[in-house]
Amino acid sequence: MTEIWHGLIKAVELIISLDPGIMEIAGRSLRISGTSCLLASLISLPLGSLIYFHQFRGKRAVINIIQTLFSVPTVVIGLFVFVLFSRAGPLGETGMLFTPAVMVVGQMILITPILLGLAISALSGVGKEVVDAATSLGASGFQLTLLILREARYAVLAAVIMGFGRAISEVGCAMMIGGNIRGFTRVMTTAIALETSKGELELSMALGIILLFLALIINIALNRLQQR
């Protein structure tokens, strides 16, 4: 018990002293997940609007599939991307396996369904009356889309934050396709897994506290948005 206590104190010390090793790993996590979240948003928001605003055959099925993909295991995505980028795979020649770039790709695949699904439900929350009011006031299709995105801005932002939360906290995909290479692809979650297995508890705990702290910030932000 004293050992755990000791580790916790050491962990807090590491954070307060802004230990370069810890900061470097945390910074990389933020960069990779931030990039994947940004790219996924750039794909999901227009695509989500497109799906929401257009009536087509099998729309219900598409939304069902998207929602099913919310809970796809990260290791399955890891496996999929690994096969795709492995030497013998179709994208093997890019040589991207075990690089931060491929981790971004993996996380994008992971969170795009979440962003897409939540964006669609954010837009559905806007209501037919607003659409009618805007159309009556002479909005073109494009102008209407922009207005509705603006109306749904809080819910859309909440979706983006959710996506970021999922990206930064996943470990399976980062481990399998990033390879947990020190100083290159090692992120907070993979570092915790490794250091714990090595018995270096204080480092794991420090990273764990940072992750929890991030989760807390994300939660506060979400709560604030939902109260608007």
Partner: protein, 361 residues
């Protein structure tokens, strides 16, 4: 030439036919009230005219041009109109942005937008509200934002769907004032759907009665309220006395109608033997304690069966072998000591009786 013309318009939602081969023409600058009970199809008609919906059947002409069922032209025409919906649906933005959006969409310049928005907000009495979020406003204020948002566009046609439903009397009066001001000042063509008949009577030059998807009658307020076309319209416009009878004589346009042994004289052209309804507005019936000599052709001895007062008026039900309802001021009711069992004479003119055909089905 009509600014808006609707020809043979029918519309269905699934199996349910909401509008049934409707024809309507509106000239420029006209204020038209569409009255009818809830569910008659008023909103659907307005939505079709605003090109929010494509009718199942029929054509619509705007300024002489036939409106296509799809394509860019619909947006261009829609931009010449504005629609104030029943539930004031403001955008989750500032009051200023709410009003400015329509102008931005039309590519107006920033300076001119600011000027016009300020002017309109002043007109609807919302100056100083520019930066408030429109969602935090009261119902009456929100409806004024919705009205301002439409008016700022200076539309050729303004469509209003129950603009004062669910509003308190003060807000209602304000909105009504604005509507009549705009009709007077800007000569905007308006179509206003309402179930409030007095509102239609007060604001519109012409009224259309929409019952169960059919435009049953159009005409001046006087036509609709005094000379309803059939029993349905008579019922809807609050004609309280609709009495069954048969025409027994026709003397150069003055008919005698037999109503359970009483002879009522009225002005009509129906031939002898025709089964009809005699419609008499309650306010056209005079009550007196003795038979007075007057030019009125109809006078009956009757017994008061019920007196109820509302506001400054008393509604008196009398029995003169057929049931009649009369409307008198409370003061007269007191002076005549009208109460149950009191014997009175009910008098009304032959021109106060409107005869409509009784359809035997």
């Amino acid at each position: 030439m009509s600014l808006i013309e609707v020809v043979g318009l029918s519309h269905s939602y699934g199996e349910r036919e909401v509008l049934k081969s409707l024809n309507l023409g509106l000239s420029r600058g006209e204020v038209f009230a569409l009255i009818g009970p809830t569910g008659a199809g008023k909103t659907t008609l307005l939505r079709i005219i605003d090109l929010l919906e494509i009718p199942s059947l029929g054509e619509m002409y705007f300024d002489g041009k036939c409106i296509p069922r799809s394509g860019k032209q619909r947006l261009e025409i829609r931009r010449r109109m504005a629609f104030v919906h029943q539930k004031p649906q403001v955008f989750n933005l500032s009051v200023y942005d709410n009003v400015a959006y329509g102008l931005r969409w039309r590519g107006e310049r920033k300076n001119s937008i600011a000027e016009r928005v300020d002017h309109i907000l002043e007109m609807v009495g919302l100056e100083g509200y520019e930066n408030r979020n429109a969602r935090t406003l009261s119902g009456g204020e929100a409806q004024r934002v919705a009205l301002a948002r439409s008016l700022v566009l200076e539309p050729e046609v303004l469509l209003l769907d129950e603009p004062t439903a669910n509003l308190d009397p003060v807000s209602t009066a304000k909105i009504e004032q604005l509507i009549s001001y705009i009709a007077g000042q800007h000569k905007t063509t308006m179509i206003m759907a309402t179930h409030d008949m007095s509102q239609g009577q007060q604001l519109a030059g012409r009224i259309g009665v929409l019952l169960d998807g059919k435009l049953v009658q159009t005409g001046s307020a006087n036509d609709i309220f005094r000379l309803p076309k059939d029993e349905e319209v008579a019922n809807f416009v609050g004609m309280e006395n609709i009495i069954e009878g048969v025409i027994i004589a026709n003397n150069e346009g003055v008919v005698t109608v037999n109503i359970v042994g009483n002879a009522i004289e009225a002005v009509s052209n129906y031939p002898v033997g025709k089964e009809v309804y005699a419609c008499i507005r309650p306010e056209d019936i005079t009550l007196a304690l003795s038979r007075t000599r007057s030019s009125a052709r109809n006078s009956f001895h009757a017994k008061v069966t019920q007196v109820a007062s509302f506001g400054p008026l008393s509604r008196v039900e009398i029995d003169c072998r057929f049931r009649l309802v009369a409307l008198v001021t409370k003061m007269s009711a007191e002076e005549l000591n009208l109460q149950e069992g009191r014997e009175v004479y009910a008098t009304f003119k032959a021109t106060g009786v409107h005869i409509i055909e009784r359809k035997t089905s």
